[in-house]
């Protein structure tokens, strides 16, 4: 399903002053498209994702999903950063949470959740609590929870940010595999440029605060060859272009902070 972000701005009141977090963000995610967003820290990426998810209202502008503005249309599902699972629920209950909220009965939701646990190699941990599992396993479960409700649009907020490099590569591959089978529209936030190039069809680069879209790169990597192999020359070129841009933005926001 298509997602359009139209002239979205967001400002917060903090200590009597107005802080502009997002300034006129406009972009479109086509049906079946995987879009990654990179940007300097504090540029409002997470805020933008929450607005798309309908968790925060935009100050102005609107989000259109399919043909309806959010609020009436289908809800995008969000995969959260670390700590997105409920500590008081077993892995099975966590993964089945979305179905439970939809009022699906226990037998059926456990059935469907178990299939997804199996797909991510977590079948043996259904009765475990999140604190008994590694960060990688928890994030797999977080992804399974989102895929399970079969959303038209998937929003991911640095889901692999807290993982070690090796686990991150493995989970990227697993994510690509399940995504290729369903081809949902995805908005994926990361601060890892290589990850963005490897996963995304497009990479959007955001400016420092207030965030807006600075550049829009198509990923130079062919979809078929996207996996955890090393980047090739053309890809490295794009990576450095993005890197330079982010460095600019980061320096600019540092100067402002001083």
């Amino acid at each position: 399903m298509q997602l359009i972000c139209q002239h979205v701005t967001k400002s917060f009141e903090a200590h009597g002053a107005t802080v502009e977090a997002l300034a006129d963000v406009t972009f479109t995610v086509q049906e079946h498209e995987f879009v990654c967003m990179v940007g300097p820290s504090g540029c409002g990426k997470t805020t933008l994702l929450k607005i798309i998810a309908g968790l925060l209202p935009p100050t102005s502008g609107q989000i259109v999903i399919g043909s309806t503005p959010t609020g009436s249309g289908p809800r995008p599902a969000m995969v959260f950063q670390e700590h997105g699972l409920f500590p008081w629920m077993t892995l099975l209950d966590n993964v089945a949470f979305g179905l439970k909220m939809q009022g699906i009965d226990r037998a059926q939701r456990n059935d469907r959740a178990t299939t997804w646990l199996e797909r991510f190699g977590l079948a043996g941990f259904a009765r475990h609590y999140p604190h008994e599992l590694s960060v990688g396993m928890r994030q797999r479960a977080g992804i399974a929870r989102a895929f399970l409700i079969d959303p038209k649009i998937l929003l991911m907020d640095e889901p692999f940010g807290a993982l070690d490099a090796q686990t991150r590569l493995i989970l990227q591959d697993e994510l690509l595999k399940v995504w290729l089978a369903s081809r949902k529209s995805v908005v994926y936030i990361t601060h890892d440029i290589e990850e963005a190039l490897r996963l995304g069809d497009r990479v959007l680069v955001m400016t420092g605060r207030p965030g807006r879209i600075r550049a829009d790169f198509p990923s130079p990597i062919e979809r078929s060859s996207r996996s955890s192999t090393a980047l090739e020359a053309k890809e490295i070129d794009t990576k450095w272009k993005i890197w330079k841009m982010l460095e600019d933005e980061a320096r600019a926001s540092l100067r402002e902070a001083i």
Partner: protein, 278 residues
């Protein structure tokens, strides 16, 4: 590389055995040492009283206290008084703690509500609740109800404060997840607010029950014909000091058993926090 592996293997094969042994050794000391210390102290006390180094009037020998304990047990007097105290505690705890838990959950969840009620609680909480007891007796009469009411009031505060804190320490991300998956307000309450605050609520229950025990003894000392507190008061009035010690021992046992079973209950109810609850 090979060396490294050997080192790993050796320590792996050695450590579980020696760990187990040291744990057992620790456990044994952990259990026996306090008992030994208490036994020695009681023995010294007994000897001191028999040799008249200590006044038997103020410090009856442990053997005398124990004999009196058995007498009071056999006559049924002790159990009737214990039952009376426990009944008061329980009624007061339910009457004060349950509404407090609900109010606390709502306050923690709805900031506007807590902004209204917070100052009221902050103003009343520091008053020692026993200081309100005369007022309660004026309002309800010198009877069972006034005792239950004052115990309920004293249970109310630790319970409400812990429930509020319990909800407030739930990470905002869990509310966002629930919203994102379309949870209704009722579902947010049952799936997030209630289970998320449970660990804090359970320590609220423990604080409230301990407060209830203290308050029950206090009001029984002030005005009661039955209850562990009244045993203490009559013992003072008739100078039967061994009764006083018997009551203190029973109160201590009630407290220890209560806290022990609450810890067990917490392990059962909050399995996701085993490491902290234990």
């Amino acid at each position: 590389m090979e060396n490294l592996e050997n080192v790993g293997r050796r320590s792996a094969s050695e450590s579980p055995g020696s760990n187990l042994k040291s744990v057992l050794r620790f456990m044994r000391w952990h259990i026996w040492l306090p008992i030994l210390v208490i036994a020695v102290l009681l023995g010294l006390w007994e000897i001191a009283v028999r040799n008249k180094w200590l006044s038997a009037l103020l410090f009856p020998a442990p053997s005398t206290i124990f004999a009196r304990l058995l007498v009071l047990l056999n006559s049924g007097e002790l159990l009737i008084n214990l039952g009376q105290t426990l009944a008061r505690m329980l009624v007061g705890f339910v009457a004060g703690g349950v509404p407090a838990a609900l109010l606390g959950l709502l306050m923690g969840w709805l900031p506007r509500l807590s902004r209204v009620i917070d100052p009221i609680i902050a103003a009343i909480h520091p008053i020692p609740k026993v200081a309100i007891y005369p007022l309660i007796m004026v309002l309800f009469g010198i009877n069972e109800v006034s005792k239950q009411v004052i115990i309920a009031i004293s249970c109310f505060f630790p319970m409400v404060i812990n429930s509020v804190a319990g909800v407030r320490q739930i990470s905002p991300i869990h509310f966002e997840v629930a919203h994102n998956y379309g949870a209704s307000r009722r579902q947010i309450f049952t799936q997030v607010v209630l289970p998320g605050s449970l660990p804090f609520m359970l320590s609220g229950v423990r604080l409230a029950l301990n407060t209830a025990l203290h308050m029950a003894i206090a009001v029984e000392i002030i005005s009661a014909n039955r209850g562990l507190g009244s045993i203490i008061w009559f013992a003072w009035e008739t100078l039967r000091v061994e009764d006083l010690y018997v009551a203190l021992i029973v109160i201590s046992i009630v407290g220890v058993l209560m806290n022990w079973s609450l810890r067990r209950l917490a392990l059962r109810l909050v399995p996701w926090q085993k490491q902290e609850a234990g």
